[in-house]
């Protein structure tokens, strides 16, 4: 049984249908990437999985439980966290307060967890009293990830974690993602930077115009001719 199963999902915004029948599976412990051209519906799929958009047809199962029509507040309690692409921090709160908000639904002592995350992101520890809105793009992304990690999630949905970041910072972010993955957290990552994310993925799905096009292991997709032409500039 996969940790996340998405089957035959149809959804969209208002009356506009974006996803026409999408299915993916994410195995526990994997890093799975979701790539495709602009407007393919990658972000839409993330939002539908997390309950921010309603699925018109199809199902979403997490750890065996049907979560298709649950609200985000309920889904996050089941160990699935979401980091949006934009507006993913609380700008007028400090780094520390952002992390505290991440732990909002925990009723135990989260200080231990916070220290663990500070180990993963030492830069955050240095700046924990700074207002998050004043940080650079890379630091903000770390705050966003740190916030989501406070809940000790089983799985994280990341929407374009490398957007707008310098190559060195992107490398750092992905390195941290690998580190977190080694600790047992599963990832589903949407990315424009197909090369980078496929290099770091166990599995990958290609979405085009709201439908599944291709899938395979990270290696297979990297070597695939079509993908090469479409996304990797070969």
């Amino acid at each position: 049984m996969s940790l996340l199963e998405v089957g035959g999902v149809v959804s969209g915004y208002g009356e506009m249908e974006i996803l026409h029948d999408v299915s993916i599976q994410v195995e526990k412990g994997d890093i799975v990437s979701l790539i495709g051209p602009n407007g393919a519906g990658k972000s839409t799929l993330m939002k539908t999985i997390f309950g921010l958009l309603r699925a018109w047809k199809g199902y979403v199962r997490f750890a065996g439980e049907e979560i298709t029509h649950l609200q985000p507040e309920q889904i996050v309690r089941r160990g699935l966290c979401y980091v949006p692409q934009v507006d993913n921090i609380f700008p007028s709160l400090t780094v520390r307060e952002n992390m505290e908000m991440g732990a909002f639904i925990r009723d135990d002592n989260y200080q231990l967890r916070m220290d663990e995350i500070y180990e993963l992101f030492p830069d955050l520890k240095d700046r924990r009293g700074t207002r998050a809105g004043k940080l650079s793009g890379g630091m903000r992304q770390m705050v966003a990830l740190g916030r989501a990690l406070m809940l000790d999630p089983q799985m994280m949905l990341l929407d374009e974690p490398s957007a707008g970041l310098a190559p060195l910072v992107v490398e750092l972010i992905f390195e941290r993602i690998r580190a977190i993955n080694r600790e047992g957290v599963t990832f589903l990552i949407v990315e424009q930077n197909a090369l980078k994310v496929l290099e770091n993925s166990d599995q990958g799905y290609v979405l085009v115009e709201g439908r599944n096009r291709l899938n395979g292991t990270g290696r297979e997709l990297l070597e695939d001719k079509q993908i090469g032409e479409l996304f990797l500039g070969r």
Binding site: F50, L52, P72, E73, V76, R77, Y82, P84, D87, N88, I89, F90, P91, S92, L93, E97, E100, M101, G102, F104, I105, R147, L151
Partner: protein, 301 residues
């Protein structure tokens, strides 16, 4: 001038109490609550009811704590008046604003509905108490001479102390408690708050309660300082909005400064203008801010 600034501080402290609640609400529900003034009015009338009717009926009469014009009983009346007004604000959200939110109407419709709620509150006050003035305080009120040529009554010093104590309490709540931080988070980024699992509906209810009860406190203080009349809160609506625009909508620190500035500027204007023009002065301040720095001095959410 020192006298005017002194009194401006008193007026400003009252405006700040209202403005802080208003700006918090604005930051969370994303529309201007035009019933905020009338919530202040309600608070004052509830205090009147308690001190003039209910407490005496229970055999409790007020003995002034010198040098103030009132005693423990007036202070006691704060608590139920604030609580009931907070509840009324909360109920208005449940009955009117929340159903409209569910319908996903534009924020402007929520503002229109708050105008209707304002009218309902004011009408109730008119019906239950009539259009005349009432006094919360009776008796003579001597002046204190303070340094720098400021002259204030002891009551007014009390108003300043109470208002700022409440504001300080609110700030501690916002800065130090989990729920307070969650409120700030929600004002910053409501979508992310949802994603984080913060119960946004319950937070909304809380912010209405806080805003409503602080408004009531402001109303009572206003009633202590002058009189209690049905339009007292509505007359403060312009200064309240000017204060929160000056401070940046959604920014409680800004509202703090905004309230004081409005109080002092309005009072200073009485050197050249009739006191009844004060709302017009507030309006002028508002227009100036909108022309030169619409996001406010500190920027909002």
């Amino acid at each position: 001038m020192a006298e005017l600034v002194g009194y401006g501080f008193v007026l400003g402290s009252i405006i700040t109490l209202g403005a802080v609640g208003l700006t918090l609400i604005y930051g969370i529900v994303n529309f201007g609550n035009f019933s905020h003034g009338d919530l202040m009015t309600l608070g004052a009338y509830l205090a009147l009811l308690l001190t003039a009717r209910i407490f005496p009926a229970l055999g409790i009469s007020d003995r002034p704590l010198s040098p103030l014009s009132f005693g423990w009983v007036m202070l006691l009346s704060f608590i139920p008046a604030m609580a009931v007004t907070g509840l009324v604000a909360l109920v208005a959200d449940r009955l009117v604003y929340r159903p409209l939110r569910r319908l996903e109407v534009k924020p402007v419709f929520l503002a229109i509905s708050s105008l209707a709620v304002a009218l309902v509150l004011r009408s109730l006050v008119y019906i239950l108490w009539g259009p005349d003035y009432h006094f919360l305080i009776h008796g003579l009120r001597p002046m204190l001479r303070l340094p720098l040529g400021v002259k204030l009554r002891p009551d007014q010093v009390f108003i300043i102390i109470i208002a700022w104590a409440m504001v300080a309490g609110l700030y501690l709540f916002l800065q130090r408690t989990k729920i307070g931080k969650a409120l700030r988070a929600m004002a910053d980024n409501p979508n992310l708050a949802r994603i984080t699992g913060i119960p946004t509906e319950r937070m909304t209810i809380l912010v209405w309660f806080i805003g409503g009860s602080m408004a009531a406190a402001g109303g009572i203080l206003l009633g202590i300082d002058s009189q209690v009349r049905p339009t007292m809160g509505w007359a403060l609506l312009l200064p309240l909005f000017a204060a929160i625009v000056l401070g940046g909508i959604g920014n409680p620190y800004g509202a703090l400064v905004g309230g004081l500035v409005l109080g002092i500027v309005q009072q200073a204007s009485t050197m050249w203008l009739l006191p009844s023009y004060k709302p017009a002065v507030a309006f002028l301040v508002l227009i100036l801010i909108l022309m030169f720095r619409p996001q406010g001095i500190f920027g909002g959410t």
